[in-house]
């Protein structure tokens, strides 16, 4: 079998230009496929994995952008008094763009000393906690954000009209947290000119999952007649809703992925059909030498599979490297989505390309074995 695989690989070298062009075509398709798969996987991670099951998000009613969700900070004390509430963290969020964008800069303002409670999973990988605690304008910057902007501890940078000092670089298991900068709430309130006492949202931890619904209802009921009514949802639902536009946009990219798959199948099928047509006599010679139909099929399918796999390796490899290098952040209505490719996604694309190559070669392979030997030798 290995010897037949080697023979198939050598046969591909006979028409180098055709092979190179086919591999390039497959690579383009698999680049697109890998990019689409990465988008889908990034969205899945952001809306499912990161959502804690005992956290509620309190937002301003009928507002979906952090810029327009303004709630009084004193609501925190009122919320804390509701039965079932374990903890309340007021958060201020500033973004450079509330619409759909590929370069979102997000500042999260968290009360001094509460960062560890808000995001216990983050780890400082560069710089230290000292500067963060000491300086009012200190920021802990997500590692992807820092990489994209070329930031190191000790640097200063301006964004969203705010100038901050990079106290450290952080890493989080949640990709979107690697694309934001954490600052102190009071500093962000002053710097963003919304003033002290105004926050974007409250993150509320309840005592148990069963408390989510009654606590959410109680919060909204409490502020229903207030000047700034609230809308409280579990964090998972909040993510899903704010990411609605992204889901729609990314849902559309499924069609691009399907188009890429069809393009790959068509390209390989065309290349293998041409190859089978140009080697009618040669296949007949192999069958005269005693090659059974399954060996001829194996040869043709191997050539298709090899073309697919080579294209997959190039396309998925390039897409993976490109997306890693660019570390795009997609944003919509303040929700950030880090588009980070996983090795598993690239491997999936390569295996998919291999299978597509084999599937595309089935018909040409059947054509190759069905032609009568005598007729083929005369052709």
């Amino acid at each position: 079998m290995i010897a037949l695989l080697q023979l198939a690989a050598k046969q591909l070298l006979r028409h180098r230009l055709r092979t190179i062009l086919t591999v390039c075509g497959v690579a383009s398709g698999m680049f697109l496929f890998t990019a689409v798969e990465t988008l889908q996987q990034s969205l899945g991670e952001a809306t499912e994995a990161s959502a804690a099951d005992t956290t509620l998000v309190v937002y301003r009613e009928n507002r979906f952008c952090p810029m327009t969700s303004q709630l009084p900070e004193y609501y925190a004390d009122e919320i804390r008094r509701i039965d079932g509430v374990r903890e309340v963290i007021p958060i201020k969020i500033s973004v450079n763009n509330c619409g759909a964008s590929l370069d979102v800069i997000t500042f999260r303002g968290v009360p001094e000393g509460l960062l560890q409670k808000f995001a216990p999973e983050i780890e400082i990988i560069e710089g230290g906690e000292g500067e963060w605690l000491k300086r009012g304008d200190a920021a802990l910057v997500g590692e992807q954000f820092a990489k994209r902007r070329g930031l190191s501890p000790g640097d200063k940078f301006d964004a969203v009209g705010i100038t901050v000092y990079v106290a450290g670089i952080i890493r989080s298991p949640f990709p979107q947290d690697n694309n934001v900068a954490y600052v102190k709430l009071e500093f962000l309130q002053q710097a963003s000119k919304t003033g002290l006492g105004i926050v974007t949202q409250f993150n509320v931890r309840v005592k148990k999952a069963a408390d989510l619904k009654p606590v959410a209802e109680a919060i909204d009921e409490r502020f229903k007649s207030d000047q700034k009514p609230t809308n409280t949802r579990p964090e998972k639902a909040f993510f899903a809703e704010t990411a609605g536009q992204l889901i729609e946009l990314i849902g559309f990219t499924r069609w691009l992925g399907l188009a890429a798959v069809i393009a790959v199948v068509t390209l390989v099928a065309n290349a293998i059909s041409l190859m089978v047509r140009s080697r009618v006599k040669e296949n007949a010679v192999l069958r005269t030498l005693g090659y059974p139909s399954r060996a001829i099929m194996f040869l043709v399918l191997s050539e298709g599979g090899l073309l697919g796999m080579m294209g997959g390796l190039v396309g998925a490899g390039l897409a993976w490297s490109f997306l890693r290098w660019q570390s795009f952040t997609m944003g919509s209505e303040g929700h950030t989505l880090a588009i980070l490719p996983q090795v598993s996604t690239a491997l999936f694309a390569i295996v998919a390309a291999l299978l597509l190559g084999i599937i595309a070669s089935v018909h040409p392979a059947l054509v190759a074995i069905r032609q009568p030997i005598v007729k083929s030798l005369r052709s």
Binding site: V285, G290, L377
Partner: protein, 229 residues
């Protein structure tokens, strides 16, 4: 070795039934070198195809080495060809991206032999045809005569008892043709191979132990007077 009894071959071509061979009887002894001559369309290549098992007769019995291959299924015929027959084509049909050694190795790729065993057998076959020093050359680095010798080595490599050759010298100059015929003669006389060769060339036929003439699908008792091409 070969026993054809009342074999016929016919096929449909449009509305007509074509019968290139009809009620043909032939006996070939083991180790014999037989030449088949005849004008185009006389049925000699059809007979060669039947003897080599790449086609089946529509009637009659065709026994080779005691096996009635006329009754074989397609799968059985494929298996039989791999073990029992070596085919030599007029235009060699070597694979251009493979070296002489790799081309000779081709029939062995579908066997259970190890890589080393395959190499050893292919080298031995190349030695028989006198091309052991050209084993790493690709077909485009070889002359026509050398290519045909590689093709003969490929036919020999599985050590079949029967070799069939379809105008093996038809595409070669006189000197190369003569060397190929000498090689075929020695394969028959020294290695005991039974050879059936189709040719248009009387000089090539003269190298065989016996020459039979075919015309309109029938073997002729006497040698006809058509000219050689």
């Amino acid at each position: 070795m070969i026993s054809c009894k009342s074999i016929s071959k016919s096929y449909r071509k449009g509305p007509n039934l074509v019968t290139p061979l009809e009620d043909l009887n032939l006996e070939v002894a083991r180790g014999e070198f037989l030449a088949l001559m005849g004008p185009s369309g006389s049925g000699k290549t059809t007979l060669l195809n039947l003897i080599s098992g790449i086609d089946s007769p529509t009637a009659g019995s065709l026994k080779i080495d005691g096996e009635d291959i006329a009754s074989f299924s397609r799968k059985e015929l494929t298996h039989w060809r791999a073990r029992k027959v070596g085919y030599i084509f007029q235009l060699y049909h070597l694979i251009p991206v493979l070296t002489a050694l790799e081309n000779v190795e081709l029939p062995l790729l579908i066997t259970s032999l190890t890589r080393a065993e395959r190499k050893e057998k292919a080298e031995a076959a190349l030695k028989i045809v006198g091309l052991e020093d050209r084993s790493h050359h690709t077909p485009n680095e070889l002359s026509g005569g050398q290519e045909q010798r590689v093709a003969i080595a490929r036919a020999l490599v599985s050590d079949p008892a029967l070799l069939v050759a379809d105008e093996p010298t038809g595409d070669l100059d006189r000197e190369s043709a003569s060397k190929i015929l000498d090689l075929l003669k020695s394969l028959s006389s020294e290695h005991g191979k039974t050879i059936v060769m189709v040719t248009h060339d009387a000089r090539a036929a003269a190298a065989a132990d016996r020459t039979l003439h075919l015309e309109k699908g029938q073997l002729l008792e006497n040698e006809p007077s058509y000219s050689n091409s």
